[in-house]
Protein backbone atom coordinates (compact mmCIF):
# COMPACT_ATOMS: atom_id res chain seq x y z
CA UNK A 1 0.00 0.00 0.00
CA UNK A 2 2.75 2.39 0.96
CA UNK A 3 4.82 1.39 -2.07
CA UNK A 4 1.85 2.16 -4.30
CA UNK A 5 1.43 5.58 -2.68
CA UNK A 6 5.10 6.35 -3.20
CA UNK A 7 4.84 5.26 -6.81
CA UNK A 8 1.91 7.62 -7.46
CA UNK A 9 3.73 10.44 -5.70
CA UNK A 10 6.72 9.96 -7.98
CA UNK A 11 4.53 9.75 -11.08
CA UNK A 12 2.68 12.91 -10.02
CA UNK A 13 5.97 14.75 -9.61
CA UNK A 14 7.49 13.58 -12.85
CA UNK A 15 4.49 13.72 -15.18
CA UNK A 16 3.92 17.43 -15.83
CA UNK A 17 6.96 17.88 -18.01
CA UNK A 18 7.36 20.84 -20.23
CA UNK A 19 9.26 20.86 -23.48
CA UNK A 20 10.59 24.15 -24.77
CA UNK A 21 12.46 24.58 -27.96
CA UNK A 22 14.77 27.42 -28.80
CA UNK A 23 17.06 27.96 -31.74
CA UNK A 24 20.70 27.78 -30.73
CA UNK A 25 21.60 31.03 -32.41
CA UNK A 26 24.23 33.53 -31.43
CA UNK A 27 25.40 31.54 -28.42
CA UNK A 28 26.23 28.32 -30.27
CA UNK A 29 29.85 27.23 -30.17
CA UNK A 30 30.69 29.56 -27.30
CA UNK A 31 30.44 28.01 -23.87
CA UNK A 32 30.08 30.52 -21.06
CA UNK A 33 31.09 28.78 -17.83
CA UNK A 34 30.23 31.74 -15.57
CA UNK A 35 26.72 32.02 -16.97
CA UNK A 36 26.13 28.27 -16.66
CA UNK A 37 27.37 28.22 -13.06
CA UNK A 38 25.44 31.33 -12.00
CA UNK A 39 22.31 29.90 -13.63
CA UNK A 40 22.70 26.74 -11.58
CA UNK A 41 23.42 28.57 -8.32
CA UNK A 42 20.39 30.83 -8.71
CA UNK A 43 16.82 29.90 -7.95
CA UNK A 44 14.47 29.20 -10.86
CA UNK A 45 10.76 28.98 -11.64
CA UNK A 46 11.06 25.65 -13.40
CA UNK A 47 13.00 22.53 -12.57
CA UNK A 48 15.36 21.99 -15.47
CA UNK A 49 15.92 18.33 -16.33
CA UNK A 50 17.85 18.07 -19.58
CA UNK A 51 18.73 20.10 -22.66
CA UNK A 52 19.77 18.51 -25.93
CA UNK A 53 20.40 19.80 -29.43
CA UNK A 54 18.59 18.28 -32.37
CA UNK A 55 20.35 17.64 -35.66
CA UNK A 56 18.61 20.75 -37.03
CA UNK A 57 20.45 22.89 -34.49
CA UNK A 58 17.34 23.41 -32.36
CA UNK A 59 17.87 23.26 -28.59
CA UNK A 60 15.20 21.38 -26.68
CA UNK A 61 14.82 22.10 -22.96
CA UNK A 62 12.88 19.60 -20.88
CA UNK A 63 11.88 20.90 -17.49
CA UNK A 64 9.22 20.47 -14.86
CA UNK A 65 7.03 23.58 -14.49
CA UNK A 66 6.44 24.78 -10.94
CA UNK A 67 3.56 26.80 -9.50
CA UNK A 68 3.88 30.57 -9.58
CA UNK A 69 2.05 32.45 -6.84
CA UNK A 70 2.01 36.22 -7.23
CA UNK A 71 0.42 38.81 -4.95
CA UNK A 72 -0.65 41.68 -7.19
CA UNK A 73 -3.24 44.46 -6.70
CA UNK A 74 -4.85 42.91 -3.67
CA UNK A 75 -5.21 39.28 -4.62
CA UNK A 76 -3.22 36.16 -5.36
CA UNK A 77 -2.60 34.95 -8.89
CA UNK A 78 -1.61 31.31 -9.16
CA UNK A 79 -0.64 29.49 -12.34
CA UNK A 80 2.02 27.10 -13.60
CA UNK A 81 5.30 28.57 -14.79
CA UNK A 82 4.82 26.76 -18.13
CA UNK A 83 2.56 29.68 -19.11
CA UNK A 84 5.70 31.79 -19.50
CA UNK A 85 7.07 29.37 -22.14
CA UNK A 86 10.58 29.92 -20.85
CA UNK A 87 10.20 33.72 -20.85
CA UNK A 88 8.67 34.12 -24.31
CA UNK A 89 5.06 34.67 -23.22
CA UNK A 90 3.65 37.35 -20.93
CA UNK A 91 0.99 36.55 -18.36
CA UNK A 92 -1.67 39.23 -17.94
CA UNK A 93 -2.77 40.31 -14.46
CA UNK A 94 -4.87 43.34 -13.51
CA UNK A 95 -3.44 46.37 -15.27
CA UNK A 96 -0.04 44.84 -16.02
CA UNK A 97 1.79 41.91 -17.49
CA UNK A 98 4.18 39.49 -15.81
CA UNK A 99 7.40 38.64 -17.56
CA UNK A 100 9.90 35.93 -16.62
CA UNK A 101 13.32 37.40 -17.24
CA UNK A 102 16.52 35.58 -16.22
CA UNK A 103 14.69 33.53 -13.63
CA UNK A 104 12.88 36.45 -11.96
CA UNK A 105 9.34 37.75 -12.49
CA UNK A 106 8.85 41.45 -13.32
CA UNK A 107 5.85 43.66 -14.04
CA UNK A 108 5.94 45.00 -17.58
CA UNK A 109 3.73 46.64 -20.19
CA UNK A 110 2.01 44.75 -23.01
CA UNK A 111 5.18 44.54 -25.10
CA UNK A 112 7.17 43.11 -22.21
CA UNK A 113 9.73 45.94 -22.17
CA UNK A 114 12.50 45.60 -19.63
CA UNK A 115 13.98 48.88 -18.41
CA UNK A 116 17.51 49.21 -17.11
CA UNK A 117 18.94 51.77 -14.73
CA UNK A 118 22.35 53.36 -15.22
CA UNK A 119 24.08 50.47 -13.43
CA UNK A 120 22.66 48.01 -15.93
CA UNK A 121 20.25 46.45 -13.42
CA UNK A 122 16.62 45.76 -14.25
CA UNK A 123 14.50 48.69 -13.09
CA UNK A 124 11.07 47.08 -13.56
CA UNK A 125 8.92 46.64 -10.48
CA UNK A 126 8.77 43.18 -8.96
CA UNK A 127 5.49 41.80 -7.62
CA UNK A 128 5.40 40.03 -4.28
CA UNK A 129 6.43 36.52 -5.22
CA UNK A 130 5.37 33.54 -3.09
CA UNK A 131 6.09 30.96 -5.77
CA UNK A 132 7.05 27.36 -5.25
CA UNK A 133 10.45 27.78 -6.88
CA UNK A 134 13.05 25.13 -7.57
CA UNK A 135 14.57 25.56 -4.12
CA UNK A 136 11.19 25.33 -2.40
CA UNK A 137 10.35 22.19 -4.40
CA UNK A 138 13.68 20.71 -3.34
CA UNK A 139 12.92 21.63 0.26
CA UNK A 140 9.53 19.87 0.00
CA UNK A 141 11.32 16.78 -1.27
CA UNK A 142 13.75 16.94 1.65
CA UNK A 143 10.93 17.41 4.16
CA UNK A 144 9.03 14.52 2.60
CA UNK A 145 12.10 12.26 2.94
CA UNK A 146 12.64 13.31 6.56
CA UNK A 147 8.96 12.69 7.28
CA UNK A 148 9.16 9.26 5.66
CA UNK A 149 12.36 8.17 7.44
CA UNK A 150 11.54 9.50 10.89
CA UNK A 151 7.82 8.77 10.70
CA UNK A 152 8.63 5.12 10.04
CA UNK A 153 11.24 5.05 12.80
CA UNK A 154 8.90 6.75 15.28
CA UNK A 155 6.14 4.26 14.50
CA UNK A 156 8.59 1.41 15.15
CA UNK A 157 9.53 2.90 18.51
CA UNK A 158 5.94 3.39 19.64
CA UNK A 159 5.04 -0.14 18.54
CA UNK A 160 8.04 -1.99 19.96
CA UNK A 161 8.95 0.22 22.91
CA UNK A 162 12.00 2.40 23.32
CA UNK A 163 14.09 -0.28 24.99
CA UNK A 164 13.61 -3.06 22.42
CA UNK A 165 16.54 -3.98 20.19
CA UNK A 166 16.43 -1.57 17.22
CA UNK A 167 15.56 -3.05 13.85
CA UNK A 168 15.49 -1.82 10.26
CA UNK A 169 15.40 1.94 9.87
CA UNK A 170 15.90 2.37 13.63
CA UNK A 171 19.44 1.10 13.17
CA UNK A 172 20.07 3.96 10.77
CA UNK A 173 18.66 6.82 12.82
CA UNK A 174 19.28 5.76 16.42
CA UNK A 175 23.09 6.16 16.48
CA UNK A 176 22.87 9.58 14.80
CA UNK A 177 20.15 10.81 17.16
CA UNK A 178 22.17 9.57 20.14
CA UNK A 179 25.25 11.30 18.72
CA UNK A 180 23.37 14.61 18.44
CA UNK A 181 22.00 14.20 21.97
CA UNK A 182 25.09 12.98 23.80
CA UNK A 183 27.98 14.51 21.87
CA UNK A 184 26.42 17.79 20.74
CA UNK A 185 23.56 18.86 23.01
CA UNK A 186 24.44 17.39 26.41
CA UNK A 187 28.10 18.35 26.05
CA UNK A 188 27.25 22.03 25.64
CA UNK A 189 23.95 22.52 27.46
CA UNK A 190 23.18 21.62 31.08
CA UNK A 191 21.93 18.03 31.01
CA UNK A 192 18.69 19.03 32.72
CA UNK A 193 17.85 21.60 30.06
CA UNK A 194 19.38 19.89 27.04
CA UNK A 195 16.32 17.76 26.31
CA UNK A 196 14.17 20.87 25.91
CA UNK A 197 16.25 21.82 22.86
CA UNK A 198 16.56 18.32 21.38
CA UNK A 199 13.62 18.63 18.92
CA UNK A 200 15.05 21.83 17.48
CA UNK A 201 18.65 20.60 17.32
CA UNK A 202 17.68 17.28 15.74
CA UNK A 203 15.50 19.00 13.16
CA UNK A 204 18.32 21.41 12.38
CA UNK A 205 20.87 18.62 11.99
CA UNK A 206 18.83 16.34 9.77
CA UNK A 207 17.19 19.12 7.77
CA UNK A 208 20.55 20.65 6.84
CA UNK A 209 22.21 17.30 6.24
CA UNK A 210 19.50 15.80 4.04
CA UNK A 211 19.05 19.00 2.04
CA UNK A 212 22.82 19.21 1.52
CA UNK A 213 22.81 15.63 0.25
CA UNK A 214 19.85 16.25 -2.08
CA UNK A 215 21.74 19.26 -3.43
CA UNK A 216 24.65 16.98 -4.31
CA UNK A 217 22.56 14.65 -6.50
CA UNK A 218 23.59 15.79 -9.97
CA UNK A 219 20.35 14.97 -11.83
CA UNK A 220 16.68 15.88 -11.73
CA UNK A 221 15.07 15.53 -8.30
CA UNK A 222 18.19 16.91 -6.63
CA UNK A 223 20.77 19.41 -7.65
CA UNK A 224 18.98 22.53 -6.42
CA UNK A 225 21.32 24.83 -4.55
CA UNK A 226 18.99 24.95 -1.55
CA UNK A 227 21.35 25.12 1.43
CA UNK A 228 23.55 27.43 -0.62
CA UNK A 229 20.68 29.91 -0.79
CA UNK A 230 21.11 32.83 1.56
CA UNK A 231 17.37 33.08 2.35
CA UNK A 232 17.31 29.46 3.48
CA UNK A 233 20.31 29.88 5.79
CA UNK A 234 18.96 33.24 6.98
CA UNK A 235 15.73 31.53 8.08
CA UNK A 236 17.65 28.86 9.98
CA UNK A 237 19.91 31.48 11.57
CA UNK A 238 16.92 33.59 12.68
CA UNK A 239 15.34 30.52 14.27
CA UNK A 240 18.64 29.82 16.05
CA UNK A 241 18.73 33.46 17.19
CA UNK A 242 15.33 33.03 18.87
CA UNK A 243 16.27 29.63 20.30
CA UNK A 244 19.37 31.19 21.87
CA UNK A 245 17.86 34.38 23.23
CA UNK A 246 14.32 33.46 24.27
CA UNK A 247 15.60 30.94 26.82
CA UNK A 248 18.52 33.10 27.97
CA UNK A 249 18.93 33.17 31.75
CA UNK A 250 18.85 36.32 33.86
CA UNK A 251 22.58 35.98 34.35
CA UNK A 252 23.19 35.90 30.58
CA UNK A 253 21.20 39.08 29.96
CA UNK A 254 22.98 40.80 32.84
CA UNK A 255 26.35 39.94 31.30
CA UNK A 256 25.20 41.29 27.93
CA UNK A 257 23.40 44.46 28.98
CA UNK A 258 25.10 45.58 32.19
CA UNK A 259 28.47 43.78 32.13
CA UNK A 260 28.93 43.80 35.93
CA UNK A 261 32.35 44.29 37.49
CA UNK A 262 33.81 46.28 34.63
CA UNK A 263 34.93 49.93 34.86
CA UNK A 264 32.43 52.44 33.46
CA UNK A 265 34.53 53.75 30.55
CA UNK A 266 35.16 50.20 29.31
CA UNK A 267 31.43 49.46 29.64
CA UNK A 268 30.61 52.22 27.15
CA UNK A 269 32.43 50.22 24.50
CA UNK A 270 31.78 46.72 25.75
CA UNK A 271 27.99 46.80 25.97
CA UNK A 272 27.43 47.84 22.32
CA UNK A 273 29.94 45.19 21.24
CA UNK A 274 28.05 42.57 23.26
CA UNK A 275 24.75 43.66 21.74
CA UNK A 276 26.20 43.51 18.22
CA UNK A 277 27.59 40.10 19.19
CA UNK A 278 24.03 38.82 19.65
CA UNK A 279 23.47 39.46 15.93
CA UNK A 280 26.87 38.43 14.61
CA UNK A 281 26.66 34.91 16.04
CA UNK A 282 23.65 33.87 13.91
CA UNK A 283 25.02 36.01 11.06
CA UNK A 284 28.19 33.92 11.00
CA UNK A 285 26.07 30.73 11.10
CA UNK A 286 24.14 31.99 8.09
CA UNK A 287 27.22 32.91 6.08
CA UNK A 288 29.14 29.74 6.93
CA UNK A 289 26.51 27.34 5.61
CA UNK A 290 25.73 29.54 2.59
CA UNK A 291 29.37 30.02 1.59
CA UNK A 292 30.43 26.42 2.09
CA UNK A 293 27.63 24.86 0.06
CA UNK A 294 27.70 27.47 -2.70
CA UNK A 295 31.48 27.18 -2.99
CA UNK A 296 31.16 23.39 -3.24
CA UNK A 297 28.62 23.64 -6.06
CA UNK A 298 30.74 26.22 -7.89
CA UNK A 299 33.90 24.11 -7.65
CA UNK A 300 32.24 20.94 -8.95
CA UNK A 301 30.62 22.83 -11.83
CA UNK A 302 33.89 24.61 -12.64
CA UNK A 303 35.70 21.28 -12.83
CA UNK A 304 33.01 19.95 -15.17
CA UNK A 305 33.29 23.10 -17.29
CA UNK A 306 37.01 22.46 -17.80
CA UNK A 307 36.19 19.89 -20.50
CA UNK A 308 34.15 22.43 -22.45
CA UNK A 309 36.59 25.29 -21.91
CA UNK A 310 39.59 23.29 -23.12
CA UNK A 311 37.40 21.69 -25.83
CA UNK A 312 39.38 18.51 -25.57
CA UNK A 313 38.39 15.02 -24.57
CA UNK A 314 41.81 14.59 -22.96
CA UNK A 315 40.78 16.98 -20.20
CA UNK A 316 38.06 14.53 -19.17
CA UNK A 317 40.08 11.98 -17.14
CA UNK A 318 41.65 14.72 -15.02
CA UNK A 319 38.29 16.42 -14.60
CA UNK A 320 36.56 13.19 -13.59
CA UNK A 321 39.29 12.40 -11.08
CA UNK A 322 39.18 15.90 -9.57
CA UNK A 323 35.37 15.90 -9.53
CA UNK A 324 35.40 12.56 -7.74
CA UNK A 325 37.75 13.96 -5.10
CA UNK A 326 35.64 17.11 -4.74
CA UNK A 327 32.46 15.06 -4.51
CA UNK A 328 33.94 12.97 -1.69
CA UNK A 329 34.95 16.18 0.05
CA UNK A 330 31.46 17.62 -0.44
CA UNK A 331 29.92 14.53 1.16
CA UNK A 332 32.11 15.23 4.16
CA UNK A 333 31.22 18.94 4.06
CA UNK A 334 27.49 18.08 3.89
CA UNK A 335 27.56 16.37 7.28
CA UNK A 336 30.30 18.62 8.71
CA UNK A 337 28.26 21.77 8.07
CA UNK A 338 25.16 20.19 9.60
CA UNK A 339 27.31 19.20 12.59
CA UNK A 340 28.91 22.64 12.95
CA UNK A 341 25.60 24.48 12.63
CA UNK A 342 24.05 22.26 15.30
CA UNK A 343 27.16 22.34 17.50
CA UNK A 344 27.49 26.13 17.45
CA UNK A 345 23.76 26.61 18.00
CA UNK A 346 23.89 24.35 21.04
CA UNK A 347 27.09 26.06 22.21
CA UNK A 348 25.40 29.47 22.07
CA UNK A 349 22.27 28.05 23.72
CA UNK A 350 24.53 26.60 26.41
CA UNK A 351 26.16 30.00 26.96
CA UNK A 352 22.72 31.55 27.33
CA UNK A 353 20.91 29.03 29.54
CA UNK A 354 23.60 27.46 31.70
CA UNK A 355 23.76 28.39 35.35
CA UNK A 356 27.10 29.90 36.28
CA UNK A 357 28.71 29.09 39.58
Amino acid sequence: MRAAGLFFFLIATILPLQVNASVAGEKSGQFDATEMIMHHIADAHEFHIVTYTKASGEEVHISMPLPVIIWHSGRFHAFMSSRFHGGKNLVPVEGAYLKLYHGKIYLTNVEGTIHYNEKGEVANAKPLNFSITKNVASMFLGSFLIFLIFGTAAKRYSKRGGLAVPKGIQLLVEPIILFVRDDIAREQIDARKADLFMPYLLTLFFFIWINNLIGLIPFFPGGANLSGNISFTLTLAVMSFFAINIFGSKHYWKEVLIAPGIPFFVKIFLVPVEIIGLITKPFALMLRLFANITAGHIIILSLTSMIFIMQSVYAAPMTILLSLIMYSLEFLVAILQAYIFTLLTSLFIGMAVNEHH
Binding site: D183, A284, L287, R288, A291, I340, L343, L344, L347
Partner: protein, 68 residues
Amino acid sequence: MEGLNLTPFGLGLIVFSAAYGISRIAQAAMEAMARQPEISSKIQTAMIVVAALIEGATLFAIVVAWLG
Protein backbone atom coordinates in the same frame (compact mmCIF):
# COMPACT_ATOMS: atom_id res chain seq x y z
CA MET B 1 46.50 51.93 -11.42
CA GLU B 2 42.93 52.88 -12.30
CA GLY B 3 40.64 49.95 -13.01
CA LEU B 4 42.95 47.47 -11.31
CA ASN B 5 40.79 45.06 -9.38
CA LEU B 6 42.49 44.12 -6.13
CA THR B 7 39.62 41.96 -4.84
CA PRO B 8 41.21 38.62 -5.89
CA PHE B 9 44.42 39.64 -4.17
CA GLY B 10 42.52 40.47 -0.99
CA LEU B 11 40.60 37.19 -1.17
CA GLY B 12 43.89 35.33 -1.52
CA LEU B 13 45.27 37.14 1.50
CA ILE B 14 42.15 36.31 3.55
CA VAL B 15 42.23 32.63 2.64
CA PHE B 16 45.98 32.44 3.27
CA SER B 17 45.57 33.89 6.76
CA ALA B 18 42.61 31.65 7.57
CA ALA B 19 44.46 28.56 6.38
CA TYR B 20 47.43 29.54 8.53
CA GLY B 21 45.22 30.05 11.58
CA ILE B 22 43.33 26.79 11.12
CA SER B 23 46.56 24.88 10.52
CA ARG B 24 47.97 26.21 13.79
CA ILE B 25 44.86 24.96 15.61
CA ALA B 26 45.09 21.59 13.90
CA GLN B 27 48.78 21.29 14.79
CA ALA B 28 48.16 22.10 18.44
CA ALA B 29 45.18 19.74 18.58
CA MET B 30 47.13 16.88 17.00
CA GLU B 31 49.95 17.33 19.48
CA ALA B 32 47.52 17.43 22.38
CA MET B 33 45.79 14.29 21.11
CA ALA B 34 49.12 12.51 20.78
CA ARG B 35 49.95 13.41 24.37
CA GLN B 36 46.55 12.55 25.78
CA PRO B 37 44.65 10.21 23.46
CA GLU B 38 41.98 9.50 26.07
CA ILE B 39 40.47 13.00 25.79
CA SER B 40 40.92 13.26 22.01
CA SER B 41 37.15 13.55 21.37
CA LYS B 42 36.94 16.62 23.60
CA ILE B 43 39.98 18.14 21.92
CA GLN B 44 38.44 17.45 18.54
CA THR B 45 35.20 19.27 19.46
CA ALA B 46 37.14 22.26 20.77
CA MET B 47 39.28 22.25 17.63
CA ILE B 48 36.25 22.30 15.37
CA VAL B 49 34.60 25.09 17.37
CA VAL B 50 37.69 27.32 17.18
CA ALA B 51 38.21 26.50 13.51
CA ALA B 52 34.59 27.43 12.86
CA LEU B 53 35.07 30.76 14.65
CA ILE B 54 38.10 31.56 12.48
CA GLU B 55 36.12 30.50 9.46
CA GLY B 56 33.36 32.87 10.52
CA ALA B 57 35.75 35.82 10.64
CA THR B 58 37.13 34.75 7.25
CA LEU B 59 33.68 34.68 5.72
CA PHE B 60 32.97 38.17 7.06
CA ALA B 61 36.15 39.39 5.37
CA ILE B 62 35.27 37.61 2.12
CA VAL B 63 31.80 39.16 2.07
CA VAL B 64 33.24 42.62 2.77
CA ALA B 65 35.84 42.12 0.03
CA TRP B 66 33.09 41.16 -2.40
CA LEU B 67 30.76 44.01 -1.53
CA GLY B 68 33.43 46.67 -1.21
